[in-house]
């Protein structure tokens, strides 16, 4: 056996023994701190070198002096390695402590998320990044929830105010009638009836809204022509427009087919037209149009309300948005939830509703996906109560 092979064998034997100890130590230390693990790792590395060197030197009968020199070099190298590992371990420990603090702060409302400061290893930095992203998501969803809660509370406050106002009047009038001190009993009777009608409309609005919000609005879609919907809306709103001195006109192209629940969509359109008539001054004009546009049908209601402030445009369809005169609901109106109901119904039809300022007022736009015409002469299926498969929707048309 050559001397070289002997050296390799001896060194491998000595270092291997230390390595085996290292494996045992690693197993024992699998739950220990990272810092201790680092130190043991450096000790094992240095010991393996020292053991290999000393073993080989002994076998080769090197002079005592040389052996001492080798030993000293090994000790110094070992100390440096040990020190370096200690430092590294400390760094990792500090980073991990910072991460732990950050994780603990995640979801705490008072302090918010404390992002760990200072540089850290790539893997730990990635983990910290993930934590920060989660914290942001949590914060956003909390904010959304808070907003929803705030608007719900505001809605309840407004609705109870709006319900209490007519109730107070009703009670006063009823008592006056009962005690026989009403100077004009006939007028009181009429007013009581009007107040009850108003209360009923408010309750109906709330009921519709709760159906929309809870997702229990069952649509019975049917193929309809936008032209008929617009014509019908104009026909039924004409008396209100005339009473208010508003000119109501409509215009629509033919063959604009949509897939919609006739009752719900008519209600949405009626809400928009009523809203437009109410906010248009006398001698003003409200125009309802239906036109084709890429991928669907656009139904627009333009009024003469004088425009909505730009800052308010985005929140017009929110539950709690109310126009200038909204604190006292109109005598013929519901709970002032009309536009929120419109949005709910349109979105349930996979449509979109928006508003822009245009001309002398604003223009509410409802966009609905178009459908392909059905072949003529097919057999009907009752009175429109059954739901057709949504597969008839061809948005790309």
């Amino acid at each position: 056996m050559s001397a070289q092979a002997q050296i390799i064998l001896i060194a491998a034997g000595c270092a291997g023994a230390v390595g085996a100890m290292g494996i045992a130590a690693a197993w024992l230390l699998r739950r220990a701190s990272l810092r201790l693990s680092f130190q043991v790792a450096s000790a094992i590395a240095v010991l393996a070198v020292v053991a290999g060197t000393l073993g080989t030197a002994n076998a080769m009968f090197i002079s005592q002096h040389d052996l001492r020199v080798v030993g000293m070099v090994c000790v110094v190298a070992g100390l440096v390695a040990f020190g370096f590992c200690w430092l590294l371990g400390r760094q990792v420990e500090t980073s991990s402590l910072a991460l732990r603090r950050a994780a603990r702060s995640l979801g705490q409302e008072e302090t918010g998320f404390c992002e760990p400061a200072g540089p850290m290893a790539a893997e730990l930095a990635a983990l910290s990044e993930e934590l920060a992203a989660t914290a942001r998501k949590l914060q956003d969803s909390r904010e959304r929830e808070r907003r929803a809660e705030r608007s719900r509370r505001q809605l309840v406050a407004w609705v109870s105010h709006d319900l209490r106002t007519p109730l107070a009047g009703l009670r006063a009038m009823a008592e006056a009638l009962e005690d026989g001190i009403a100077s004009d009993a006939g007028r009181y009777h009429k007013q009581i009836r009007a107040e009850v009608i108003r209360l009923s409309a408010m309750v109906e609005d709330l009921f519709e809204l709760s159906r929309i919000e809870s997702g229990t609005l069952n649509l019975s879609p049917d193929q309809l022509e936008a032209r008929d919907l617009v014509s019908d809306a104009v026909a039924s709103m004409e008396p209100l427009a005339r009473a208010r001195g508003v000119r109501l006109t409509g215009e629509a192209g033919s063959a604009l087919l949509i897939q919609a629940d006739a009752r719900e969509l008519s209600r949405a359109l009626a809400n928009l037209v009523t809203n437009a008539i109410r906010h248009t001054p006398e001698d003003g004009r409200v125009q309802v149009t239906a036109t084709a546009e890429a991928g669907g049908v656009l139904i627009a209601v333009a009024d003469g309300c004088g425009g909505i402030p730009d800052a308010d445009l985005a929140s017009v369809f929110d539950l709690t948005w109310r126009g200038t005169r909204a604190r006292t609901p109109a005598a013929d109106g519901g709970a002032g939830l009309g536009l929120a109901i419109v949005r709910g119904i349109v979105e349930a039809h996979r449509g979109r509703v928006s508003v822009v300022n245009a001309g002398e007022g604003c223009r509410f736009e409802v966009r609905l996906p178009a459908v392909a015409p059905r072949g003529g002469g097919g057999s009907g299926d009752g009175d429109g109560r059954r739901t057709r498969p949504a597969g008839l929707l061809i948005p790309g048309l």
């Binding site: 009850v196 049917d222 014509s231 026909a235 033919s254 009752r263 059905r374 003529g376 009907g380 109560r385």
Partner: protein, 236 residues
């Protein structure tokens, strides 16, 4: 003899007010507070019309309606006006299974209810006469109408129509050239003095698909802009 109206409602205030209005209109009325007593009262005092609350203690309104009808069938159909609370499915009330003739949603106007009761009674009388002597078959342009056989042919081909589609088409064919509003059609064809107007819109659209060469450009069943619908038998 004045007509008899049975009012079934567990709310005594409502029953009392409705009863007063109906008596004022010259009708005889009796009151039952629940389904069971309504059924037994109807047996000893057969009514000409029933005003029935949908939400009743014990047997609910729909079931009472079914049983009343079944017991009454031997003579002639018994008209029923249903009182419903907000949110109860009006469709179900007016559906074929019970077939109420009209419905009103609570809170309602008792004055209006009394008018409806009279309207339904009048319609029932007319229907009884029509059943005795059905109208003769007639021809209108490309269409042939036989109301007694409930058959409409276009160019000698029979159309496949639902009950309501038949009623509406037959009505239009016998009233050509006149514009009708949706409330009018609902009243004259459906016999509802109040209801979902979009039912008419949907039915018109369906009929167009069956009678028009191009349903999206109708020549017979036309939209009268901002008013309603009109039938043209011989469009130019």
């Amino acid at each position: 003899m004045s007509a008899r109206v049975l009012v079934v409602d567990d709310d005594l205030t409502i029953a009392e007010v409705v009863g007063d209005y109906l008596r004022d209109a010259g009708l005889e009325t009796r009151h039952a507070a629940d389904g069971r007593s309504a059924l037994s009262l109807a047996e000893e005092w057969p009514p000409d019309l029933v005003v029935l609350d949908l939400m009743l203690p014990g047997i609910d309104g729909l079931e009472v309606c079914k049983r009343l009808r079944a017991a009454h069938e031997r003579q002639r159909p018994l008209p029923v006006i249903m009182l419903t609370a907000l949110g109860e499915e009006a469709d179900r009330v007016l559906g074929l299974e019970t077939g109420a003739d009209d419905y009103v949603t609570k809170p309602f106007s008792p004055r209006e209810l009394a008018l409806r009761v009279q309207a339904v009674l009048r319609r029932a009388a007319v229907a009884a006469e029509t059943a005795a002597a059905p109208p003769e078959p007639f021809r209108a342009g490309r269409f042939e109408v036989d109301v007694a056989a409930r058959r409409i042919r276009r160019d000698d081909r029979e159309l496949v129509l639902t009950v309501r589609e038949f009623d509406l088409l037959a009505f239009f064919l016998s009233h050509p050239g006149r514009a009708f509003t949706r409330p009018e059609l609902l009243e004259l064809v459906w016999g509802w003095s109040f209801g979902d107007l979009s039912t008419v819109t949907v039915c018109v659209r369906r009929i167009r698909e069956k009678v028009e060469d191009t349903p999206t450009a109708p020549v017979h069943l036309q939209t009268v802009w901002g008013v309603g619908y009109r039938w043209e038998t011989d469009p130019r």
